[in-house]
């Protein structure tokens, strides 16, 4: 199980503005271990899904070119303060993480 996702979400009118921080090492597979000089295998988030009221509001597919501890911000309509937003990810090793947070 991956580390929990940090979510900050605010609702203005009926528009939700979501910012999420996904702790993950996002290894590119191109970096060498400074001690052994061997390539560190690629380890990265391949897919991020955000859901509001059971509806998918964002699906992101990523490569190793997304920075370490990825940040993603997006927005959608039809939200109210207090609603829950769920963000989850899957990485190339099959590991997953899922966090649900209330929107302000």
């Amino acid at each position: 199980m991956g580390k929990p996702i940090k979510i900050r979400a605010k609702v203005k009118g009926d528009v939700a503005e979501v910012k999420a921080l996904l702790p993950h090492d996002m290894e590119s597979g191109l970096r060498r271990d400074p001690e052994t000089d061997e390539l560190v295998p690629a380890h990265y988030i391949t897919e991020v899904v955000a859901e509001h009221k059971g509806e998918v509001v964002l699906t992101a597919y990523w490569s190793t070119a997304v920075s370490k501890n990825p940040y993603v911000a997006f927005s959608f309509t039809g939200a109210a303060p207090g609603d829950m937003i769920k963000v989850s990810w899957t990485d190339n090793s099959g590991d997953t993480s899922e966090t649900e947070a209330a929107m302000k």
């Binding site: 528009v15 590119s28 191109l30 391949t46 897919e47 899904v49 509001h52 509806e55 998918v56 509001v57 964002l58 699906t59 992101a60 597919y61 990523w62 490569s63 190793t64 070119a65 997304v66 920075s67 370490k68 990825p70 940040y71 993603v72 911000a73 997006f74 927005s75 959608f76 309509t77 039809g78």
Partner: protein
């Protein structure tokens, strides 16, 4: 409940619609596009089409990135019915960095932070109503972070 022909057909349609919808939203990860080693190939693999430059696509990205490991990018557009926003770093070993698919309630903007191995043009492509709109910007990466 009566199982006449009409209700059976309605039921069958409703069930197929329920299964079809998540499939549309959860279109599989475009692995081949992510493996492509050139930007044009990745775009062809992802969309099977080429994009037209449009001033309706806005990309916020620094002109000079001190640290290529963390380059913040925001893409937004006033085009309607946006299906996806994709980002490509032309000079990266595999240019396609991120592709984001939207739902019916999503607003067409997204921010991420990307890695750039060296100075490169960065391309943002918006897909809306089946058409592709793009914008491109050259980003200089300062290796070593000494501002040179």
């Amino acid at each position: 409940m009566k199982f006449d022909r009409r209700s059976l057909i309605k039921g069958a349609l409703a069930i197929s619609a329920t299964f079809a919808l998540p499939k549309m939203l959860f279109a599989a990860r475009p692995d081949k596009a992510f493996q492509s080693t050139d930007a044009a190939g990745a775009i062809a693999e992802l969309f099977g089409d080429t994009a037209t430059a449009s001033d309706q696509v806005t990309m916020k990205i620094p002109d000079i990135a001190e640290n290529g490991a963390v380059v913040p990018v925001t893409v937004s557009t006033d085009i309607e019915n946006v299906e996806s926003i994709s980002l490509l770093v032309v000079n990266n070993p595999t240019p396609l960095a991120s592709t984001v698919n939207f739902g019916p309630r999503s607003l067409p903007n997204v921010s991420v932070r990307i890695k750039m191995g060296q100075s490169s043009p960065v391309i943002a492509i918006v897909k809306a109503d089946g058409k592709l709109y793009s914008t491109e910007k050259e980003v200089k990466v300062t290796i070593g972070g000494c501002g040179g």
